[in-house]
Assembly symmetry: C2
Homo-oligomer: 426 residues x 2
């Protein structure tokens, strides 16, 4: 981790930059897979699964038997943990339900919004060494609360053609029953067009590697919405002399272990604190199974000393981190100054892991500076808000003349006439 | 307008299709303009304005003097109409402000969301024959309510290098002072990169032709967010025997006059009503200045008779119209059945023009079937919602063990350790 002392504002602009992501030219491959799956459906999906995942599946859908038996291969302790996390995620997202408020903007003109679920949503859960069942919770729970009619889950099979029991158990606990053993570009293409076994969806959610990211981008060209633009995960910690250096080091490492491209930034108004955290980092990283990954991420990472904590907040707003930890005892006072961040963790006992798993907030958050212009996933991500308006005779009488003159000025005479015919009829 | 009687469900799928938009290959041009403006800034913007708009401007920003004097060239009546519309749009969007609710998901674990404005937003207002000052209201008012720090407005100059006084007056009324005489790809590119006079923005809003649409798409590759995917405007009217055929015809025409590619659909359970509306259409279209445009749009349009009004709602949900008018006296009872629509107009006196100008709802809505998976523009479009969480010692004690086992199962040991170091310290 490189330490930088009191950079000037021009230096800030450089320091906020993420390492440039080398996006490989995947478009040709993605378009090929999309076209083939659009035409050939399941057959093509099975072929690509054989080609890319080296598994010869007979069918894509995970059968009921397998889902049911998953529960038996998980410890009671893990099940209870998942249930606790589910309860908290439910509580927090349930509270995001918008009550419809009728507003009488002018006498006789009543306007309001009502939420409706996006009918069909697709959840993508990456494969790899670890089963990301926590993401099943973060996407499945709000989809269920929203009332999405069809929720399908795609996740790549391992080399034996199996899906992790933790993923199956979590999905089943939420009530997701349509689970498909398919990953990568072929999963996103299948959800975009629909196949014999996989339903076409309206919106695709979930993280993934560069293939999945490119496929989600392409899906948008076919009318499918996506949750968020993608980028590597990141944390920015602001620590002052009230922090616990061992906690800060542990938080930095929990981000660094995600991948060599993870972004980790430490800010402080106190050089000594930074020194203490760096010492802790060295000790703690040694004990990690993912030591090499974490060390690679730390190489790209920066510890920056600024004059004041207010300067640290200003830098953080410029950086717009996915996760912002304020390792500061009286951090509440800083909240109004935070303008760009995905999720914020206040004080010494609010570690990022809490939000990743069980506090109740969503862990699908804007990365790569997108916290400037995007929110993380919430209940809102699974609904549309439809506006309604009802005008009485009095209502059109009150606002009709204003509409007539505005429409006429915009040279839209049929718009004007739609009011005129009504006013004449009163 | 083509009349279709009792199509079967398979026929519905075909009927819901929009005419295929011929997207010209504009990418080469868009990329060229983007690159040039990224490097050369204002100079390139001025050159493109000369090339595309045939105007030789000295500076891009509209000066204070011109903005002030715009007020003098507008009638008092129009000013009052704009003020009435502004008040209603303000009332409706102000009511969308989300109050922060703290949720204690588990004892000692408090989570909440706070809205923050997107700091810099750009509003694009198309040029052409008519000045779309109503769109200035629809985008400017919620941007102001959200508290966006920098709001810039770009709109192409006419052949004399001027901007419509109605646009200048409306912008100034809202408090938008940074107005630039620049349109097309060059406007979107300038807001994407920033130039000497035009600020780089975080999100671009507003309608436009195919060049603007392609440019907004490209802007997303450079980290800029956009309001909505674009498509031609559309209305779907459901009418029964309680409708007024003259009103329905006027509403269909107010959509048809937008452009030859506008989509107009009429549904009814009553063949006679459809006949009466078609007769009214013929009479009313004759009197329109935009008669040719409206007639061209009507050629692509359909009147469909279905067995019941419930069938009509089902077809509408499949079609997912931008505007849905229920020309039905007791339309309230149908509201729960509406699942996909941008904005809904209830009863005989709620014409689309009301929502286009002055009822208070936003007129920037999802087209082309995107009402399935997108909401229209609202206050939410101008803010990010940041999640916060604060855990006390009791909080981490309560949920820490669950986090530890979940992180371990996902093989993220540093995530687990961030909890362990804290639990050990209690």
């Amino acid at each position: 981790m490189k330490t930088i002392l009191y950079p000037n504002k021009k230096g800030w602009l450089k320091l906020r930059q993420r390492p440039r992501i080398q996006v490989k030219e995947l478009n040709t491959l993605v378009n090929q897979v999309f076209e083939k799956i659009n035409v050939e459906g399941d057959k093509a999906v099975l072929n690509y699964t054989k080609q890319f995942d080296k598994v010869n599946l007979k069918s894509l859908q995970v059968n009921e038997e397998t889902i049911k038996s998953a529960s038996q291969s998980i410890s009671l302790e893990l099940k209870q943990a998942i249930k606790l996390a589910k309860r908290n995620v439910e509580k927090f997202h349930q509270a995001q339900t918008e009550l419809s408020k009728k507003i009488e903007t002018t006498e006789g003109v009543v306007c309001w919004r009502e939420s409706r679920p996006i009918e069909k949503v697709g959840i993508y859960i990456p494969g790899g060494t670890a089963p990301l069942f926590s993401t099943v919770l973060m996407l499945g729970v709000p989809a269920k609360i929203a009332g999405c009619k069809e929720i399908i889950l795609c996740t790549p099979p391992n080399e034996r053609g199996e899906i992790s029991p933790a993923i199956l158990y979590t999905a089943s606990l939420i009530g997701i029953t349509k689970i498909f053993s398919v990953g990568g570009i072929q999963a996103i293409a299948a959800m975009t067009f629909g196949t014999e076994s996989i339903a076409k969806v309206d919106k695709v959610f979930g993280p993934g590697n560069q293939y999945v990211t490119a496929a989600k981008q392409t899906a948008q060209n076919f009318g499918v919405a996506i949750d968020l633009p993608a980028g590597p995960s990141e944390v920015l910690v602001i620590a002052n002399n009230t922090c616990k250096p061992a906690f800060v080091a542990a938080d930095l490492l929990s981000q660094a272990e995600h991948g060599a491209d993870s972004q980790v930034i430490l800010l402080s108004d106190n050089k000594t604190i930074i020194g203490e955290v760096l010492v802790e980092l060295k000790t703690q990283v040694e004990k990690l199974p993912r030591k090499e990954i974490a060390e690679a991420a730390l190489k790209n990472s920066k510890a920056i000393v600024l004059k004041t904590i207010i300067d640290c907040i200003a830098f953080s707003n410029l950086y717009a981190p996915e996760h912002l930890i304020l390792a500061i005892e009286d951090s509440q006072r800083l909240i109004p100054k935070i303008s760009n961040a995905g999720s914020v963790f206040l004080g010494n006992y609010s570690c990022e892991s809490a939000g990743d798993y069980a506090s109740g907030t969503n862990h699908t958050l804007p990365t790569n500076g997108y916290a400037r212009n995007y929110s993380g996933v919430s209940l809102d991500s699974f609904v549309k808000k439809i506006t309604f308006q009802q005008l009485s005779k009095q209502g059109i009488k009150n606002i009709g003349p204003a509409i007539e003159i505005m429409a006429e000025t915009e040279q839209l005479f049929a718009h004007k006439n739609a009011v005129t015919v009504r006013l004449k009829n009163l």
